[in-house]
């Protein structure tokens, strides 16, 4: 059966740490950093369960700032 | 109506016909006495079927002026007309247009105020027209017609100046000029500019990013004070150039004059008759009629002040232009004001009496 592999790339400097992508991800791939901040001082979204991402793009769709690019690869 | 034919019509009607003929793209207005014939004439002429000019009766003067803002921001030749209380409502939009540097024509057929006032003619909006009216440091280019012919002629001139300086221009008429019928030769037909011409001539306008050019933004907003000061300084620089180049006035019997009357619009017509009457009595008096109220003919007034013994400002108000005359003269000779209020047009002999009384 084909499996979907996904990856997200977060534009860290554009991210405001609103957490909406984290909530939107059905597979809990993303989380906000707890210590690291970007130049504006925001904790930013990053992948914590990268292997489970299917590239559904829910995170990117709800992101108000267009910070997330999503890639998807289908593997037979 | 054929080209270059002399005809009889009201000043308000002349504005409407001239607008169609000078290639105006859009008129947005709201009824108010004594200027409603502008919109009525346009509606009757149906220019949307001939030149393609848009004519729209808006829901208010506030909407009218903001339609003008939108149209002007898209590079089109657009106008509105109203009378004093309506012009008060438009001040927000006028200030925004001055701030965003947009060319447009606003016609004010003045009536007496303050408040709802009267529908009779007055010149009591001189301050409002020339000293800002709305908020912020800005000027309108203000033309004061004193005949129906000038009502017709100034439409094209006002558009020309508005586009040259990217600033709103105002025709400051009054109920007498608006309602009065006089013979007039309408300007020749000039086609509306094509969309291609507009895009070429107004590269700043929001016409859509045709050809993939960078977006154009029309705004009067800038939150950074340093930038806002630069914007203001550039606008002021434009005003200084306008003051240098665009002053217009008329002189009448000033060569041998010992006294001068200054008056604009309808008041200048009364003044001319007064001057004829005074001269019949042996009083050597002449007229300086500012055609542009802003820029004001300051230098001409100063030149006049070096020749005459006194200046009488005749206005249909409590004394507004007289302040600019006094500023120009700077106290060298007496400058007096004579005016009637409430929509009353003074008799020429009243003016002669005032002249005798004051000097």
């Amino acid at each position: 059966m084909a499996k979907m592999y996904g990856a997200t790339v977060v534009n860290v400097e554009r991210c405001k740490g609103c957490n909406l992508c984290v909530v939107a991800c059905p597979l809990h791939v993303l989380a906000l950093t707890t210590k690291e901040v970007n130049r504006k001082g925001y904790n930013y979204a990053h992948e914590v369960l990268a292997d489970t991402c299917t590239g559904c793009a829910s995170c990117a769709t709800v992101c108000p700032d267009g910070c997330i690019t999503v890639y998807r690869l289908k593997s037979e | 109506m054929a080209d270059q034919e002399v005809t009889l019509m009201k000043g308000n009607e002349a504005i409407a016909h001239a607008a169609i003929r000078c290639g105006c793209d859009g008129y947005f207005g709201y009824p108010i006495t004594p200027q409603s014939e502008v919109l009525e004439t346009l509606a009757a002429q149906k220019p949307w079927e001939t030149t393609g000019m848009v004519v729209l009766q808006a829901e208010s003067e506030v909407a009218s002026i903001n339609m003008v803002y939108g149209g002007a921001a898209s590079g089109k030749k657009v106008m509105t007309s109203s009378s004093s209380p309506g012009i008060s409502l438009m001040q927000e939009g006028i200030s925004y247009m001055a701030g965003a540097e947009l060319p447009a024509l606003i016609v004010n057929v003045m009536r007496g105020g303050p408040g709802l006032g009267t529908i009779q003619p007055s010149q009591s909006d001189y301050f409002q027209a020339c000293k800002g009216g709305g908020h912020g440091d800005y000027h309108l280019i203000v033309l004061a017609p004193s005949s129906v012919q000038e009502m017709a002629d100034f439409v094209d001139l006002a558009f020309e100046l508005a586009f040259r300086y990217r600033n709103p221009a105002m025709i400051l008429a009054d109920g007498a000029i608006g309602q009065m019928m006089e013979k007039v030769m309408l300007p020749p037909f000039k086609p509306r500019r094509t969309e291609e011409q507009i895009i070429k001539e107004c590269p700043w306008a929001t016409t859509g990013r045709i050809g993939g050019r960078k977006p154009n933004i029309i705004t009067s907003l800038e939150l950074r004070s340093e930038e806002m000061e630069i914007i203001n300084n550039n606008i002021q620089k434009k005003y200084r150039e306008c003051e240098e180049k665009e002053v217009r006035f008329e002189e009448y019997l000033l060569d041998d004059a010992e006294y001068a009357i200054m008056a604009f619009g309808s008041a200048a017509r009364v003044a001319k008759k007064s001057i004829d009457n005074a001269r019949a009595e042996g009083i050597k008096v002449g007229l300086l009629r500012p055609i542009t109220l802003w820029p004001f003919p300051t230098k001409e007034v100063q030149r006049l002040a070096s020749k005459v013994k006194g200046i009488l400002s005749v206005e249909f108000n409590a004394g507004q232009m007289v302040e600019d005359i006094r500023l120009a003269v700077g106290g060298g000779i007496p400058v007096q004001h004579f005016g009637r209020l409430g929509g009353i047009i003074p008799d020429p002999d009243e003016v002669v009496e005032a002249l005798k009384r004051m000097f």
């Binding site: 909406l20 | 903001n66 898209s74 045709i210």
Partner: protein, 258 residues
């Protein structure tokens, strides 16, 4: 399969809209404006209207919309955007003309301009962000503020005796003969966002087809003004705003007409 492989060999399934430029938006973290901006940018691009769009921005939080979406913009005085749009569309009939306004701008100071532009059947679209508060000025009561809702100018909650009722301006718009398509959407979930995008596309298409005026209300959050986290604001909106502002199409005359 490594992350690098997926990025290298995979397809891009989502990226920032081409028309949304790189300038960081000034909106608060989690603000609905950003989502709607993305949708508007995508729809203009997908319709191939980039070169033919003239947009009107309001006064309020979205005043700087012109900094973010790469089309021609005019910035209107408070509430007057529909008047500008009316003139622009009449003077440039083949352009896509829309306004983007908030509740204070559209439903309060600009009520007259809104109602009359819609009722004149101007072939424009009004995108209406309703977050029931004045965001830019610091969270004051809006005409759409819910009863009981606390704002800076009704700190004890909106009361009928003091402030009257929240205004159902979208229902009012649906009653007007001039409107073609009137809808109320939201952008709190992926499904809702997709529906809103379809609604914006439909409204833009109707306006280009000359079918009359279109109003797309987006019930939105103002988490700063509401003093909640973005996540909580979405929940609060679902529980409170949707009860008063029901989602869905209120009118769609575009389907029947040719």
């Amino acid at each position: 399969m490594t992350r690098e492989e997926i990025i290298e060999k995979g397809q891009v399934v989502y990226k920032k809209p081409t028309l949304l430029n790189d300038v960081p938006m000034h909106y608060c973290p989690g603000c609905s404006h950003g989502v709607v901006h993305k949708l508007v940018a995508d729809v203009i691009d997908e319709m191939g209207m980039t070169e033919k769009t003239i947009a009107i921005s309001p006064v309020g939080c979205a005043v700087f919309a012109y900094k973010y979406i790469d089309v021609d913009w005019q910035e209107a005085a408070h509430g007057r955007a529909p008047a500008l749009a009316s003139a622009v569309k009449r003077l440039w009939p083949d352009r896509l003309v829309f306004t983007y306004q908030g509740d204070g701008d559209l439903a309060c100071i600009g009520t007259a301009e809104t109602i009359h532009a819609l009722n004149r059947a101007e072939n424009i679209t009004i995108i209406f962000i309703n977050n029931a508060i004045y965001g830019m000025t610091g969270g004051q009561m809006a005409p759409t503020t819910l009863l009981g809702m606390k704002t800076a100018t009704c700190p004890y909650g909106r009361e009928v005796s003091l402030h009257g009722y929240p205004l159902h301006i979208t229902e009012l718009a649906a009653q007007l003969d001039g409107t073609c398509y009137v809808t109320r959407q939201a952008v709190h979930t992926v499904a809702a966002i997709n529906r809103t995008k379809k609604a914006i596309r439909k409204a833009f298409e109707y306006s280009m087809q000359g079918k009359g005026s279109n109003l797309v209300e987006v019930v939105s959050t103002c988490n700063s003004g509401w003093k909640m986290s973005p996540e909580k604001a979405n929940k609060w909106m679902e529980e409170n705003m949707f009860a008063y502002y029901h989602l869905g199409d209120l009118k769609d005359n575009g389907i029947d007409s040719k």
